[in-house]
């Protein structure tokens, strides 16, 4: 048990030993949390990692076991949260532990915005690189990694490296799930905005096919597009959907009351979900009711609505701790991408889940544009579907392997930041450059100090 959790959690290490789960709360293991306050601390933690290794844990928003490291160490970099803007305003340099919502509160009043944002602001910048996150504008702007000018990484020898997009090590780190080293600082090119608002259109569709046709069309016109599907409603398995499209608002788009302060921060307050919810509360009926209410309100057709960017990008953040509503067994977020010519898989997956009686709370459909050079980066041109599937009380166990096969056979793949279900082989089939990534990873970390529960489960870093 060299360097691993002493039974009973005595404090021979700096930091504490505790049970850690992903955001989906369906995977768990015990690890040491180590608070670091400087780059030297990170280097020290890496060179002193025990046999169970080390990985950075950002805000713990990956859904599965990516930020768990059973028996090993997890680095908390929340103290590395500095931010600065270059004098010409073209480059933002931030500590990897800074949270996106805090960053946005600092950027927006200066007329700047992150070029890519995921569906929540409660993530760290380091995590955004490690997962190479995408947003509603992927078809136009690509994923976050494409806007990064350079990043600082502590490698497996505890040495700091500055990586840029000319180097393969950079692209192994973008989407590399923290397994190439610990990202300590990131420099990215921000997006200039006139206002803190988006102009949003919402359309409602009765059939999936019509919705998907509209998405192809709208992707040519609008910077932001995303669709929500109702996989539970009475309109059949793949009935209703709503399509939200938008662009950044110019000052002229605002009504006079907002024109005076176009970069004002959002004043929305978040609700908080109750901590204890019995497993199985989210059954077909309650999910159906929620979806019906959501479609009635969010799905009401409208054009030219002015929405604050925070609300537009981070709808999930309006309820704190929403992951607790799935009860103690948690939920799986099942997200995959299939190539453009395999769009029918979206409908097949929805139909299979409907037949199995597995309700999905939030189902998001999005089209991706071109991917980037990262061997483990998730996006590729095509359709990505994300489903929240409660583990308790559903026929999920029997139907998931069939879904895995559909996705893999269609040339699709799974998203590591969400994954809590793929097998080593179903994962590897979707990422033909996995071995290239492994070789590059080994040059950065020859002693294989960087490891996570995800890496073990999918054998990303070969055992031994």
């Amino acid at each position: 048990m060299t360097g691993s959790a002493p039974a009973g959690g005595s404090a021979t290490h700096a930091g504490d030993t505790r049970m850690v789960t992903g955001w989906g709360r369906c995977t768990r293991s015990v690890a040491h949390m180590v608070q670091v306050t400087s780059v030297e601390d990170v280097s020290h933690a890496v060179t002193n990692a025990g046999v169970r290794g080390v990985v950075a844990r950002g805000a713990g928003r990956s859904y599965g076991d990516a930020s768990q490291n059973g028996g090993g160490s997890l680095l908390d970099l929340s103290a590395l949260n500095q931010a600065r803007l270059s004098s010409d305003g073209a480059l933002v340099t931030v500590g990897a532990g800074l949270r996106l919502d805090d960053l946005m509160r600092w950027l927006l009043p200066q007329g700047l915005m992150v070029p890519v944002s995921p569906g929540t602001g409660r993530v760290t910048i380091g995590g955004m690189i490690a997962a190479d996150v995408h947003g509603k504008n992927h078809h136009v702007d690509g994923s976050f990694g494409s806007h990064v000018a350079s990043l600082d990484l502590i490698d497996g020898r505890g040495e700091q490296r500055r990586l840029n997009p000319e180097q393969p090590e950079f692209w192994a780190t973008v989407g590399g799930m923290g397994l190439t080293g610990v990202i300590t600082s990131v420099a990215f090119r921000p997006l200039r905005v006139e206002t803190a608002y988006a102009v949003v259109n919402v359309e409602r569709f009765a059939r999936l096919q019509a919705l998907m046709d509209a998405m192809r069309e709208q992707d040519r016109r609008r910077r932001y597009t995303v669709a929500w599907l109702d996989n539970v409603g009475t309109g059949g398995p793949v009935g209703r959907g709503i399509l939200a499209t938008g662009d950044n608002a110019a000052i002229g788009d605002l009504d006079p009351s907002r024109m005076g302060d176009p970069l004002r921060l959002s004043q929305d307050r978040a609700l908080t979900a109750p901590r204890t919810v019995p497993s199985g509360l989210l059954n077909r009926a309650s999910v159906g009711t929620f979806n019906a209410a959501w479609f009635a309100w969010e799905g009401r057709p409208r054009t030219g609505e002015i929405q604050h960017l925070t609300r537009f990008f981070h709808p999930l953040d309006r309820v704190e701790r929403w992951n607790h509503i799935y009860g103690r067994k948690g939920f799986i977020q099942y997200q995959f991408v299939v190539p453009d010519n395999a769009g029918s898989v979206v409908e097949e997956v929805l139909a299979a889940l409907h037949r199995a009686g597995a309700p999905s709370f939030l189902t998001v459909l999005k089209r991706f544009g071109e991917g980037n050079p990262g061997p483990l980066s998730f996006p590729m041109p095509g359709w990505t579907l994300a489903l929240d599937l409660p583990v308790a009380g559903s026929g999920l166990k029997d139907v998931l392997p069939a879904l895995d096969r559909m996705v893999v056979e269609a040339g699709g793949r799974f998203y590591l930041a969400k994954d809590a279900h793929a097998s080593p082989s179903s994962f590897a089939k979707g990422y033909p450059r996995l071995d290239e990534w492994r070789r590059c990873r080994d040059t950065l970390d020859p002693e294989r100090r960087f490891v996570s529960d995800l890496a073990r489960r999918l054998e990303l870093v070969p055992p031994g």
């Binding site: 048990m1 995977t27 293991s29 015990v30 067994k329 583990v391 809590a420 279900h421 793929a422 080593p424």
Partner: protein
């Protein structure tokens, strides 16, 4: 590493030829690999090919000889090849022949070594492996024979009682390490061990025990540990044993057990 649905990747069965142990493995259906550890290489190979033909991938074997703790730890660690193991099942031991043991005490020490010492080594090594990785389940096979001495098998019962006691101690010792301990107390199971013996009431098959243990492990996979860390197989034995243990000695001795 178990996935979000509780699916099991790797299992280690100590006592790799045990009928009940193999039935538990078959019910758990590990998706990536199984290691069978035991004394007799030929019997292990047969057991491995049986599980492989039932569709389990990567079934391998390794030596485990009760009484050689250090060699056993090395052997098991090596067999896992640096991979995490999700479930360790301890299913070693033998029933022995009570009458023969009473006539020949050295037979008793042989039984105690294979059943108690082997069980202890398996449980201690298994819990160390699991605690070092911060997750996993230790399944220890005890017996209802461990609960009250019976004329027909109390030497076997004494060895199982020691193991039962050990497992309960480990369960408490492992709190906070991420390791879960499940103690299984089967009644009469139709297996190689009980071949030729008259079946007791509530007798069941190894596969019924296997299915029951798999159900319990699935239930305990998520979040707080629900009830069920002590499993009776079949479940009705919990109540039968409560009654039997409460009976006054003179009554108990008259029962045909």
């Amino acid at each position: 590493m178990r996935d979000g649905m509780g699916r099991i990747q790797h299992v280690l069965l100590i006592g790799g030829t045990s009928d009940i142990g193999r039935a538990i493995v078959a019910s758990l259906r590990p998706s990536e690999g199984t290691v069978l550890a035991g004394r007799d290489p030929d019997a292990l190979r047969t057991a491995a090919s049986g599980l492989a033909s039932a569709g389990l991938p990567n079934v391998t074997t390794c030596p485990f000889v009760a009484g050689d703790g250090r060699a056993n730890e090395e052997s098991l660690t090596q067999a896992l090849q640096g991979r995490d193991v999700d479930v360790v099942i301890v299913a070693v031991g033998e029933l022995g022949d009570q009458r023969l043991i009473e006539a020949e005490p050295s037979e008793g020490s042989r039984l105690a070594t294979s059943t108690y010492v082997g069980g202890l080594e398996g449980s201690l090594i298994g819990s160390r492996l699991l605690a070092s990785q911060g997750h996993g389940t230790l399944v220890v096979l005890s017996s209802v024979a461990a609960l009250r001495p019976r004329r027909s098998n109390f030497v076997y019962g004494s060895a199982k009682a020691g193991l039962d006691f050990l497992a309960r101690g480990l369960r408490d010792a492992l709190r906070g390490t991420g390791v879960d301990v499940v103690l299984v107390r089967p009644g009469f199971v139709h297996s190689r061990m009980t071949e030729g013996l008259p079946a007791a009431p509530l007798a069941i098959t190894p596969s019924a025990v296997g299915a029951q243990v798999a159900r319990i492990l699935a239930r305990r996979a998520g979040g707080r540990r629900a009830a069920g860390s002590v499993v009776y197989a079949p479940p009705a034995l919990r109540y039968v044993m409560a009654v039997l243990r409460a009976l006054p000695g003179p009554v108990f001795r008259r029962l045909p057990l």
